[in-house]
Point group: C2
Chain length 160, copies 2
Amino acid sequence: MKGNIMADATVYFEDIAVGDSIAFGPLTVSREETIAFAAEFDAQPFHLSDEAAAATHFGTLSASGWHTTALFMKMFVTEMQRDPGRQAASLGAMGVDELRWLRPVRPGDTLRGTSEVIAKKASQSRPEMGIVHSKVTILNQDDDAVLTMIPIALWRTRPV
Amino acid sequence: MKGNIMADATVYFEDIAVGDSIAFGPLTVSREETIAFAAEFDAQPFHLSDEAAAATHFGTLSASGWHTTALFMKMFVTEMQRDPGRQAASLGAMGVDELRWLRPVRPGDTLRGTSEVIAKKASQSRPEMGIVHSKVTILNQDDDAVLTMIPIALWRTRPV
């Protein structure tokens, strides 16, 4: 991020460059939160008990994939909010391409990852924002990738 | 779904046809759960208060996009578990393509949707499972689409 910190600490769309990378995490996933999230949002047997998971390719209890994406967001927002100028310019996301849950996330796993800008373009319809594509990779404590995806974020452009 | 219910109530990969469609919902999103999910997983100001949202294109408080995907899963699993033969054959998902958050989801919105099978193929590496692509569309109470995506699910093949 190459923000013009002398004039304005906000990191606008114009300050973001392809290749910029942010590391996030670590975060350790507990058995209690794994089961609580699944019970609320994804109550399939293999996300609720080791016994049911043993009857599937999961083998033992694994987190809902939507829990993993929520934990990504928790790690990423925590990191982003270390820099108030970045939070000030974030306008959420329009979507995600190529989300892949590559390996199960299990209770006790410690996750961390990186988000690297791979493309950016101005919005055709809304000149006050730009569109940033990033490649996200989440690893576990064994350095195995558990998730990859390409979020498509919206970012404020510098006021004219 | 064209399960051979006389021999085996399980809906295997072979029983799933392109064009099969499932409706899910309705589910109404409360302000309390919207803020609680954001506070836990996506604590950006525009997901936490109307005041902060007013400074962005969101206008008023909106749910985290990851909350919307979790609520999709809640509605979908609820519907799937009405048919134990479908739950028995579900092996989770390997990913999602083309996830798009089309409109904000706001407290008080009532969501519902459909999931339609658009493609299926055998797994090359694991003959005990097949791969099913579905197009998911989530609407709000005004019939506006708030989310579309293409989950890629894994499904048990019929035992030989």
